[in-house]
């Protein structure tokens, strides 16, 4: 058990070596880029606790998958900030970040709804026959 724990904590302290921080996010030294945070499942560099090989690349095979991945990344970033802000509601900078990525995710979802099929029913006008909500792939069937 001791060996396992040592490995954890070693990785924990070396985490900054593999952090890919982009320009704007470097203002927030503690935050990863949206892509890196999404692959890790954790946008907070100081909380990252890897086990074995922890991150995997996604290569979208078409534009639809690429847009869906963009939506997932931005939604995840906003969600992580949401949980953080629940505990630290007076962090103005993080609120601005939340608004930015939440807005971005919403814009991309509307774009996806219009180009491909509805991800949401709210804010989405369905004009075609048949009813597009049921006539598009379900998440477990892959997109």
């Amino acid at each position: 058990m001791n060996n396992v724990n040592n490995t954890y904590y070693q990785n924990y302290s070396n985490v900054n070596d593999i952090t890919n921080i982009k320009n704007e996010e470097s203002l927030q030294k503690n935050l990863t880029s949206i892509t890196e945070g999404f692959r890790r499942g954790n946008i907070f560099a100081n909380l990252y606790w890897p086990y074995k090989k922890q991150t995997y690349n996604f290569v979208p095979s078409n534009n639809r998958q690429k847009l869906l991945l963009d939506i997932m990344e931005n939604s995840f970033y906003a969600h992580e900030l949401n949980l953080y802000l629940d505990n630290f509601p007076n962090d103005r900078e993080k609120i601005e970040f939340f608004n930015k990525y939440n807005k971005k995710a919403e814009t991309l979802i509307i774009e996806y709804n219009q180009k491909y099929e509805p991800l949401t029913l709210s804010g989405n006008e369905l004009k075609e026959l048949p009813w597009a909500w049921e006539d598009s792939p379900w998440p477990w069937e892959g997109v």
Binding site: Y48, K53, Y56, M72, Y84, D86, E117, T120, L121
Partner: protein, 186 residues
């Protein structure tokens, strides 16, 4: 209320059928440290939190856990897709097939159905949050066991993501727990 988005939180695209892994993985849907229990635990405990901070955190993490239950179900669907009855038999899943065919039913890895007795609501915020912290650590440990049981990168990517979510949730529950202790809130 809740609004559904027709997407997963994180992509699940498993191309290799693996019936044994499906049998192991199902515990993270319906087992004692699974995602369904996590969602119901937090969404049930939130009513007795002493302030808006606690109500918000349990609502938001509980909601995310519902999405994780969907991701685990998706993994099981894809791991068993196209399996024949004979393959199910050979993988030792004939008893599962007898009860559920190719349907997805929340059980633990030994086929015991999901039960609310796997979690508690004490009405005491410190007791509940201490349970939540333990639950996140137990789920993290279970994900590590599952990671040790496979080499499929399609599966590892999702398991690693879900495991890391336990790490973040643990931190958030601990922050709230510590704050409540400091404030003497109960």
């Amino acid at each position: 209320m809740w609004v559904y988005q027709k997407k997963l939180q994180f992509p699940v695209n498993i191309k290799r059928k693996d019936l044994r892994m499906a049998k192991n993985l199902i515990t993270q849907l319906g087992g004692p440290n699974g995602e369904l229990g996590a969602a119901l635990r937090y969404l049930s405990q939130r009513y007795s939190m002493p302030d808006n901070k606690g109500k918000a955190l349990l609502t938001d993490i509980g909601t995310e856990e519902l999405g994780h239950a969907e991701m685990i179900s998706t993994m099981i669907y894809q791991l068993t897709k196209g399996a024949t009855v004979n393959e199910m038999k050979e993988a030792g899943l004939d008893s599962l097939y007898t009860e559920h065919a190719f349907g997805i039913y929340p059980t633990d890895a030994n086929g015991i159905p999901f039960s609310a007795s796997t979690f508690a609501v004490t009405g005491d915020p410190l007791a509940d949050l201490a349970e939540d912290m333990a639950a996140e650590q137990k789920a993290r440990a279970t994900y590590e066991n599952l990671i040790n049981l496979t080499n499929d990168p399609d599966l590892l990517a999702v398991l690693s993501f879900l495991r890391q979510r336990e790490v973040v949730h643990y931190q958030r529950f601990k922050e709230l727990f510590d704050e409540y202790v400091e404030k003497g809130l109960q």
